[in-house]
Amino acid sequence: MPDGPANEFRFDSVDDVRDRLRKVDYLSDEGIAGIVYLADRLGKPILVEGPAGTGKTQLAKSVAEITNARLIRLQCYEGLDESKALYEWNYKKQLLRIQASKADGDSTGWDQIEEDIFSDDFLLTRPLLEAIRAEDPVVLLIDEVDRVEVETEALLLEILSDYQVSIPELGTITARQIPLVFLTSNNTRELSEALKRRCLFLHIDYPDMEREKEIVLTKVPDISESLADQVARIVRSIRQLELKKSPSVSETLDWARTLMLLGVEKVDAEVATSTANILLKYQTDIAKANKELSNEASTVNRAAK
């Protein structure tokens, strides 16, 4: 493993991480900030797991921003392979080079040509290799890693443990610095033990009410304290219902923005019902939430008073 510049840590303390993230409008908590701090100290990748829309991708972006690093992102999808993740030989260019040498009357021997066409000039660098070769500070984001087949994970292992890649034609390329690496997963399948062992594990769940309110206050321009508070409270109550899909932070933000557009100052049952489709995606969930929030159960309680 490369040593990296000795003792040059990116953060002074857990609070330092937290404060700097807040400055770029990312509201972390003790767990998030603590693990980012630890990742920097230990030189280990972070595997961030949790429901969609809880700020996993944004965390990597924000950390890049506060450390003045370039974000290199590998978006995963089913069928992603080495040639898209790591590197690929530019075979068109290579073919042209071979054709050209043939046309030349073939003064160069095949050995020479082979050496030639498997050199840097013919290499197409993909995100993983790009991150390893970077001279400037980078943050590597391997986004939604649970989307690739489990076999493809093997591609990542060498990079995650040794910060190097082996290319048969070029040899082993080692990183000059240990980049901060984030892998995200929506947990649609279990990742391999080998991958998990190499990472620090961070589970990001829906934020608690206070943090969500803060997120709304920072992310939605001009929103009042009181409206942000109502939004966060209602979302908390909705998340307690047994739903097909709970509202995510991004949906909370969309909802808050909508309320602003509509000029709402106080969210009553009517407003909540008519805008619930922004918060919830499934018809059955919307029906359930509407029923629960304006419902007879609490009216009964009132009557009993």
């Binding site: 857990v14 003790e30 767990g31 603590g34 693990i35 701090y37 630890l38 100290r41 230990l42 280990k44 972070i46 797991e49 949790g50 040639s83 030989w89 075979y91 290579q94 073919l95 071979i98 095949w110 040509i113 066409i117 087949e149 489990v150 947990n187 649609t188 399948r189 279990e190 033990e193 998990k196 062992r197 620090l200 594990f201 961070l202 589970h203 009410m209 409270r233 209602i234 908390r236 109550s237 307690q240 047994e242 097909k244 969210v267 009553d268 049952a269 909540a272 499934y282 059955t284 969930d285 629960e292 929030l293 304006s294 419902n295 007879e296 609490s298 009216t299 309680n301 009132r302 008073k305």
Partner: protein, 492 residues
């Protein structure tokens, strides 16, 4: 950094060692690498910063969110007596002076007299404690809640040294005395009376209630923590770690799962069914070749001077397998059946072609209840109320159910079908009709039987799983997720 290194000295490492041993005993898989990472981590995060310390350990040692509950329990026991403010002792010492003063004023304002014991605050009267409880919840004040928790446990739990009673008993006793229901009513009345001009709307009621409930939850956690501290102080870390241990979701017995545990099971089951889907699909893919992959062929041709010497093929898209689930939902496996239906629902989400059948002494197809709805609760409710599964008396009759299955749907089992049968094979001494299973196996790709009973009970009493099993490709004990996962692994 030298100072922090000192923290991670020998005592710390020994402590960490013991902690990891206990994690392993609780079933958490901690590898050597992870142990080493944790040793590294504690050099950077001081124990005094307890929350950060806890997250640091979790990040290195726990790679599965479903294991968090077990981890946290072990952590709280292990480190319960470390850190100043967590020491057992002076109950009111950590309550800010000004709060106490305020409380005192409040009490005298109500004409209930002065705080007892002058400035010493040693003992609160019952009324004072009740008032403090109310105030702490009204304000949502954490340190006040902690003080209330300590006082209440001391006063109500009836803890005595050496008494071999578990934590839940003390929790129950404490809570009963606090009568939180009435406190809740008082809090809600307070919210309502704050606005005599107009009553609270149902939405407002709901939000207020949810807020107070979350505070009550916080208080309960403080109480639990206090009980745990006292138990640990009395009986030692090792003993308590063992007593308080919580099973991992994968070790929870389907048949005896509590409500909360069912919830954990449900969360854990989705990734597993996806794995099952992949496994079943992959089996069919082996040895087959898809269409030519042009780019890949050309890419490799470069090693041969541009001659496409080695044709490359795409992987074929995995074929969608077809699954028939046949599940016993009788009383003897009621808890398992609930779980089974969640399993069916999850599988139905993964496979395009799943058909589900449930039986007691009659059998009915319930595929339609899982289709076109996103609401699992609804699906299960419909299965339980609408499925026609009782033939005579609603006591299990596997033989009759299988026979009916065969005559109604047998023809639809084909060479692509994998059949999963779930049940304890307790047949109430009816005729087995095991020929049906034999016939199904003839037609199907595979037939597997999953039994939620411990293996030692098989073929005792009216269980005839052995007889059916001879006609299956495999019979598996399936009492928990760990075993279910092992079954999934067998499929590769």
């Amino acid at each position: 950094m030298g100072e922090q290194l000192a923290v991670a000295g020998a005592p710390m490492l020994a402590l960490l060692n013991g902690f990891i041993i206990e994690l392993r005993q609780a079933g958490l898989p901690v590898s050597l690498t992870e142990h080493l990472d944790a040793m590294e981590a504690v050099k950077h995060i001081p124990l005094e910063d307890r929350a950060a310390f806890k997250y640091a350990l979790a990040a290195t040692l726990v790679k599965n969110n479903a294991h968090w509950r077990s981890f946290e329990t072990v952590f709280e026991v292990y480190f319960s007596l470390r850190g100043r403010e967590y020491a057992v002792g002076d109950e009111l010492a950590d309550l800010p002076e000004d709060l106490l003063d305020e409380l005192e004023q409040m009490m005298s304002g109500q004409g209930d007299g002065q705080m007892q014991g002058g400035g010493g605050h040693e003992a609160l009267s019952a009324e004072e404690l009740a008032e403090m409880l109310y105030q702490s919840l009204l304000r949502g004040d954490q340190s006040m809640m902690r003080a209330v928790a300590r006082q209440s446990v001391k006063r109500f739990a009836g803890m005595e040294p050496g008494r071999p009673v578990g934590g839940t008993y003390y929790l129950y006793r404490t809570l009963r005395n606090l009568d939180l229901d009435s406190v809740m009513n008082r809090l809600m009345d307070q919210s309502r009376s704050g606005r005599d001009d107009e009553p609270l709307t149902p939405l407002e009621e709901r939000l207020e209630r949810d807020e107070y409930e979350s505070r009550v939850e916080q208080l309960k956690q403080e109480i639990e923590a206090e009980i745990r501290r006292r138990l640990v102080a009395d009986r030692g870390v090792e003993a308590m770690a063992k007593t308080l241990r919580k099973p991992l979701p994968e070790d929870i017995d389907f048949m005896h799962a509590s409500r909360d545990e069912m919830k954990l099971l449900r969360q854990a089951i989705y990734p597993l069914t996806r794995k099952l889907a992949v496994r079943l699909a992959r089996k069919r893919r082996h040895g087959r070749k898809g269409p030519l992959d042009f780019r890949n062929t050309v890419r490799h041709s470069l090693s041969y001077g541009g001659v496409p010497a080695e044709p490359k093929f795409r992987y074929p898209r995995p074929a969608k397998p077809e699954i028939f689930v046949i599940a016993d939902i009788s009383g003897s496996v009621a808890a398992f059946a609930r779980f089974t239906l969640h399993l069916v629902y999850a599988i139905a989400n993964q496979f395009s072609r799943v058909r589900a059948f449930v039986f007691i002494d009659g059998i009915d197809e319930v595929t339609r209840f899982f289709e076109g709805t996103e609401d699992i609760v609804e699906s299960i409710h419909r299965v339980n109320t609408e499925a026609d599964v009782v033939w005579v008396d609603g006591h299990s009759d596997y033989g009759h159910a299988f026979e009916t299955f065969w005559s109604k749907w047998g023809k639809e089992v084909g060479p692509k079908t994998t059949v999963l049968i779930l049940g304890d094979a307790r047949n109430n001494y009816h005729a087995a009709q095991s020929w049906v299973i034999k016939e199904i196996r003839h037609r199907a790709r595979h037939v597997y039987w999953l039994n939620p009973e411990p293996r030692s009970y098989w073929d005792t009493g009216d269980s005839i799983v052995g007889e059916y099993g001879t006609h299956c490709d495999g019979v598996y004990e399936c009492r928990n997720l760990r075993q279910l996962e092992k079954f999934v692994d067998v499929l590769t």
